[in-house]
Symmetry: C2
Subunit: 371 residues, 2 copies
């Protein structure tokens, strides 16, 4: 496989035509599809900076039992948010983009796709934007507060106090992420690389945020603080975190230069008129894939059409309040078959280009015009 | 802070003298030290490739309760290992280095240091090596198997069955990571950037690997498979994972081109003569910092000197079996004050250079000579 050239499914102007090279050796087993399938653009990535850091965090005093017993009681940090970043050479004057993942997932959502193509994180960097990818508080490299679990283990708290750890089964993912109505039988026009669905399964991690985090979710404040520290940023959320950019903007609207809500879930029209007025000051783009009528099999959200409709209603209210909000529905433009995991779909760079165009016109040029 | 130049604590030939530029905005609060303090070399990082993928993973069938209750029972993937990688432009012919983190930590250990300096991950890339940074199975972006926790919550398993979630308190970290014998009173020669110790605290995540993982730890096999898929790699472990490279090499010695054991913990001399014979075929470097007599305050390992002595004994056995094994003890060379978190110490690039020299001489040149 080393050196073999494979074609790249992309429609982007400056990356299209670029052949991709599998450079990273051969796979040895069923579980090894991902490394073998990694694709590499033949144009190198030139970074001014990359690395990681944390935003937020609270000191908590915990007992020996709560700390797992190896040492005496003491203090730890909880509720911190891990952030990985890449800044393109020459791009540190461009608006940064923060990409937040959805439920049962981590920042991995935005990295290399399940079938080995470039993730949106790198693509947005190649398009000139500094990119920041957090793990939500409570997940991935942000960790979680383990005290209650150890208290239950030690007998000082009842098991019924435990919050659930959520994961979506592979069977639920097919209809819920809208690859098809039935597991294993993809929609003929599905844009998701269903041959790599087992690699998507590996992206799943237990999610304690439905009952096991402080209220409000510390990620809201962390995102707001991150945007502020960056002197302004576009906040992009997905699915569970689709509304997080709105929550962060309500905390500090001036730091949020634009909001991109990708397939936001559980989206009631619950914002007050006062909140809508605040949000109307920020450019907002909502993005939804296709096949929104698919029954999810999850009773609390029977279909994604409900979220879509809720977003349309919010867009109407934002516009009525003088805001600049719009829906990006690729199906309306004849681009069919996009899934809930639109950032991993086969045409993900085509969708990214539409979002980048919106950022350019609605955020970057708007900021330049107001100077 | 934007554009302010700060000096870099480094002794590396080709990066020394490079000024570092803080490019990433200003901080707004106590919890925001990390972003403000990020330092950026003024030489851009040119990557042939970067991204992430998974190694390994098992399918598990779980009940609705075990999945957290949102959908019906079904299958998920568990025991997969997340890996982030960077390949330098022109470096894909050089030996890859895999860096595995220690207990209660994630791959973040090897990234940007708590006080904002370049991590070993980027430094080794800048020195020409493809670098692969996993999260151990059970932690970070690799996730863990949540079924038992949800079973206890649902009442179908007793709380006493729960494994502990381990975290080190900030107070324990000072003596255990050997910044000093007493919290807040660093050794005068301490190389750890103790002013940023609160940022180290944020790197902590709960660790279920002491009782909550399958036996043997799936990370051993995942590391062995990763090395094999890479057509050979140097495996570097730290602390808890200090012995993981040995375990991976025992599974497939030909795929491990070299082993770097950084401050390995809990190191009994338990390898059989047969195992030592297998390990003697692989070049091995053990690295230990200073102040190894510091009482850790943890009864199961009262001092790191015990681990150091265990490693010396193993090195003796490996040499007697014809192996090429050696101890790198910087204190012997007059480099004093290194901590357990040696990859984050102020002189971390100086230590890295010693390891890189060993890789060059004991792995790269050896491989070239045998061709």
């Amino acid at each position: 496989m080393r050196g073999e050239r494979v074609s790249m499914s992309c429609r982007s102007a400056d990356l299209c035509g670029a052949t991709l090279v599998g450079v990273l050796g051969t796979a040895t087993g069923i579980g090894a599809q991902a490394l073998k399938d990694l694709q590499t653009p033949d144009i190198p990535l030139v970074l001014k900076a990359q690395g990681s850091f944390f935003v937020g965090g609270d000191k908590a005093e915990q007992t020996q039992v709560e700390l797992g017993g190896l040492g005496p009681g003491g203090h730890i940090t909880v509720n911190q948010m891990y952030v990985r970043y890449m800044v393109p050479q020459g791009g540190d004057g461009n608006v940064p983009v923060v990409m937040v993942h959805g439920a049962t997932l981590t920042g991995k959502s935005w990295e290399t796709t399940p079938d080995g193509r470039m993730g949106w994180d790198e693509y947005f960097v190649r398009k000139g934007h500094p990119v920041y990818v957090p793990d939500q508080v409570g997940r991935g490299r942000s960790g979680f507060n383990q005290a209650l679990f150890n208290d239950v283990r030690g007998g000082s708290a009842p098991a019924g106090n435990l919050p659930p750890w959520l994961r979506f089964s592979d069977e639920v993912v097919w209809p819920n992420f809208r690859f098809s109505a039935k597991p294993g039988e993809p929609y003929p026009d599905s844009q998701f690389p269903v041959g790599a669905v087992d690699e998507l399964s590996k992206q799943g991690v237990p999610d304690v945020s439905f009952g096991g985090l402080p209220t409000p979710n510390p990620t809201f404040k962390a995102l707001s603080d991150l945007a502020s520290q960056l002197n302004g940023a576009v906040l992009m959320g997905h699915s569970q975190s689709g509304r997080f950019p709105l929550e962060a903007a309500l905390l500090n609207p001036s730091a949020t230069k634009g909001l991109v809500l990708v397939e936001p879930g559980n989206f009631p029209s619950r914002y007050t008129d006062e909140q809508v007025k605040i949000l109307a000051a920020v450019p907002i783009l909502v993005v939804f894939g296709d096949h929104r009528d698919t029954p999810t099999g999850i009773s609390s959200r029977p279909s994604w059409k409900l979220s879509f409709d809720g977003c349309q209603e919010l867009i109407g209210r934002l516009k009525a309040a003088g805001g600049q909000a719009q829906m990006l529905d690729p199906a309306e433009r004849g681009i069919r078959g996009n899934s809930h995991m639109i950032m991993q779909d086969k045409n993900h760079l085509q969708i990214a280009d539409l979002i980048l165009k919106w950022i350019d016109e609605s955020v970057s040029k708007r900021a330049a015009a107001s100077k």
